[in-house]
Symmetry: D2
């Protein structure tokens, strides 16, 4: 039975977490002297070099922005014409959760949500979209970008080979390859892949480098390997209000984030907490919708148990039909996991026994 | 003669300044526990109440954003239809410096730059625009908003009575009244006016509440007194990527900024530094384009002196034709002012005597 | 075996047909004297009254435009906000064939293609879309319009009761009801319904009144029962270049079209030709994908027969997989139908017998 | 004194005129048989060849559209990026009379209205705009197109040398040269210039070929010499609803218009009528604002005479302050001119003698 003394434990989203101490320290350190605004500062220059090193792409450009939606939609708007379409999975964040941002910034481009197992886009879906397109016919939006989310919003992760297969297919018809990496560090850790393996060598042309969900303070970035798109972005970001005058404080965060593998260490913490959590839930015979590889899981517990878990102080999202979502972050501790499992066990014992939850 | 040992002194822009310690502390304090994303946190709720108190408008809504361009252009897009026009001064930031942001977000609305003495819009200009408009004629963009910048980008400040006169005129033809307050605190201090005097009682419908140039870390805000526009903003901000998931860190800054008059204290420091600087320059018989009232001045020194001042370690912008701009910030100290004047005197002595600068 | 002496017979599309003599005569008659441009002429005023009579809606407004795409996309843009979505059938012309026009004109609104039998939208699909919408959540485009095509692009026709059921559902959540009537006359004849039955009384708020495919010279129209949307349209049409200066020649066509039931007589001719054609094909045991009710049919004949029919001088579109589309128009004569059937019989005899087609 | 028996004489606008008999005949002739829609017909192919011949540019592409606003704004949208600006005269139709169409279609590009004598843009104005532009700075819209109107909306005409000078200047900074030729034929006749002289050889990259004001039935065209822009136009026109399905009827008009110099003959009639009219007014000592060279004049007659002329059955536009505009068309006859002058003389006699007008 739950008691009101249960301390809340955060499992709603990794964007409910705080800022990593290293990143807060970097902001404080950056707060020395004055610096040219709009990216003319030394930290932003340092960030550019760092991104080029980390992703092993000497021509990479990087643009800090305040949200993942900004990162995705502005990058896409620079990769396609107004009459273009973006081929993505039907559960992609850009398709379902960004309020039409890409259509706004592109001047009316269209998202085409395609099916795919494990919430991932497969070459067969893209090929089918190609086959049913009337190419070069102005009555129809023209496929211009393939965009994938990695990890997906359901916690699954593409392998480098899977990304590469999609990029090859995209490039074969002159489409660009885009990756929404709102949780990119979690994907790299989960896939045990180096940044250049999953991104650069796999053929990605531009991607969102998420940091906010993994310890930064509202700072993500667009990384763009394409010079023409990068030139467009200079204008597109300014005229959409996405160039912070004090950019050095964004760049400071991202420099700290990418230095000494901080981003990977933070993601490892989140992924390991999720690993322990899912093992524990499995032991408790909780039905998981898919084995989590990154920092997110979906479990079917039924509505009564869902309500009881909420009452037991677990903070999480119900997805309807008794399915719940747990997300761990770099702040989720071993003790948190132990306590979550303790409460789940108690709740399940009660609900399974038919006993009143309260 | 300048020496290379001159320490640089920052006068380029107040957005080259750092973050005020109180605001950095507020960020650190906010970094406790987890919080619902996208504005569902307690600090954002607190900010809303605080704004309502400070501006004495119980229905005010506030939306933190990452830049002044975002604040202006998104607010305007919610105040006018795509076929509307914004009447503003021909030197307005929204007209000359935002890369067409308002046209983008509004779906093609038009800015009309009007003349006006002291870089300020006067009722006569607005009335003339009204008189030459073919109202309700679809061939012509329809005036929909009057927008003023206060202080202007040239450092002049509207009085409450001047704002009110424009607002009455705007409202007489069902236009909305907007104010770009990128440096609002500097204006309030300069005008010795309470927030509700210059804004609420004067008839402003929505305004940009600048904080970045006055000690915040890339956080400004839209404040909107109009319920219909505020509802639009909810959607317009999200789909333009301007809703930070970790909004609490923006709200924490703005709460600290507006608490205990911090914003006014910071602006007082900047304005007083400018007051001392302009008095000193006046003593040195430097030609000021207009007597500065806020934290910005323009002086005509000639190109040779301009070059020599730069060489003397003063960081500032040349405006062409030997005119230079100095901007002070909350970080400009008394010692800075003394040192700036010392270097100006030295440079002028040299250039006026015809002596080689080096 | 086909011979090269076979005269081509037009079955590709009703927009390949010519202009009805009555409409050409109306243009010539309108060509007397001069007239105020941009709709300030007497014929446009007469058209407005006529539309109000025909559709029994005294507040109706009508806007002639040059294409069905213009009619649909501009009407929709006046019925929804930029963050709205249009619920339509997944085969709707606005979804698949207009190159993103509605997204362009609305500032980024989204189309949601829904399933539905007989190519028609059913209340269950709309209800499901409602049920899975996160209402009032800015992360998600908000359903704002239900749009149906009648007849559909596959020749099926909604009954007045079906339209009404959708409109009631749409209005229950404050969505607007839109109808793409590119072939509206064919639908009215097929449904044996009066204009006010299928449109006005059924709850349609705005619709495209097609005329081009049924005898006019590139003139369709938006009819709008909503005063606020109509006021928007005045501006939206002008700024999209869709207000013809010599509007009287468009209005003259539409006045002739709607006078003395010309539109219904022309559509009756097209529908009857299709009726005779489909009966004849049925006799020839051709597999029809659905029994045609308006002026369009789809038949599965196989690729060899499809090629042979083309060679036999029939002009039509192949839809892939051996499916062909035949469209009749007001110009399709009884003799045409007889001749088409004669050639189909000949081709089928050859292909079925396995005999070489040539 | 005027009497109510005065027959109205049309001088409001050339778009109040009718359709030339040759063009009506061409429409009737085109109404034979069926033809592929959306420009796949023989007449559209013929038009393309004809335009290439007339303008002596073998790569020219031509796109019929329904209005001058469509022709201008869509062409411009294909010549500049969303962050571009169009340099034009401050009285240009695209700047003052198209309701923001270019901003809509370009995704927020900006018009910059520049001063210039005789309502024409001069190189000095363009050079000044260049000199005051912060090039490659994303805070500022980037000049991308120089656009001129010829004849201007005030009836003045550029010489080929003037166009060439502007084009050379535009091209020197990689801007494109656009010409709004809503009354192009009138300009050619007035300038006594061959089409290739004023357009092709002068360096125009794309232009609006007006026909509606000179005898066509709501059909103008974009002519584009730039292959990349032309490819864009294919999509931009379709998704803005500006591709008429029965394009052959537009093409038929334009073919007739350009054949056997019909366009020049019609314009000659309009210009000659204006010549006779202005000579007669000069004899009557009417103050002309500038000597008319094409088919438009502005005269200062004072408000009482303006009112009396309207009462005398002359149809024209008052421009305010007692200035009136007369426009002649291909339908203005010698008898019309004689009668107009007769009435003007009568009115002036009365108003000058101080006699009551009625």
């Amino acid at each position: 039975m739950s008691t009101t003394s249960d301390t809340p434990i955060e499992l709603r989203s990794d964007n409910a977490a705080g800022v990593a101490p290293e990143i807060l320290a970097a902001i404080a350190t950056a707060n020395e002297g004055s610096a040219l605004a709009y990216g003319g500062d030394a930290l932003t220059a340092q960030l550019r070099e760092l991104v080029r090193d980390v992703f092993m792409q000497p021509d990479a450009n990087v643009f800090p922005v305040v949200s993942g939606t900004a990162a995705n939609s502005l990058a896409l708007s620079a990769l396609l014409p107004p009459w273009g379409s973006v081929l993505c999975h039907e559960t992609a964040h850009i398709f379902t959760n960004e309020g039409g941002a890409t259509s706004l910034f592109s001047g009316g481009a269209v998202m085409r949500g395609l099916p795919g197992t494990d919430y991932k886009l497969q070459p067969a879906s893209v090929q089918h979209a190609f086959d049913t397109t009337l190419w070069d016919d102005a009555h129809h939006s023209q496929p211009s970008v393939v965009s994938i989310t990695c990890p997906t919003d359901f916690g699954t992760v593409y392998t480098p080979a899977e990304v590469r297969a999609l990029a090859i297919l995209a490039h074969s018809r002159d489409l660009r390859m885009h990756l929404d990496g709102a949780r990119l560090a979690n994907a790299l850790v989960a896939a045990n892949a180096a940044p250049e393996e999953l991104i650069t060598d796999a053929g990605v042309d531009a991607f969102s480098l998420g940091a906010t969900k993994n310890g930064a303070l509202s700072t993500d970035a667009i990384v763009c390997f394409d010079a023409a798109a990068a030139e467009q972005l200079t204008y597109r970001l300014k005229r959409s209000g996405h160039v912070a005058s004090k950019m050095r404080y964004q760049s400071a965060q991202l420099v700290a984030y990418l230095t000494d593998d901080l981003w990977l260490r933070l993601a490892t913490q989140a992924n390991q907490a999720m690993g322990a959590l899912s093992l524990g839930l499995d032991d408790l015979e909780v039905e998981l919708l898919s084995p989590p590889t990154a920092n997110m899981l979906f479990a079917r517990v039924g509505e009564p148990a869902s309500a009881a878990l909420a009452e037991a102080g677990l903070l999480f999202y119900g997805m309807g039909n008794g399915v719940i979502r747990f997300v761990t972050s770099f702040q989720t501790t071993h003790d948190d996991v132990v306590e979550v499992l303790r409460r789940v066990e108690r709740v399940l014992r009660n609900t399974r026994s038919g006993q009143a939850v309260r």
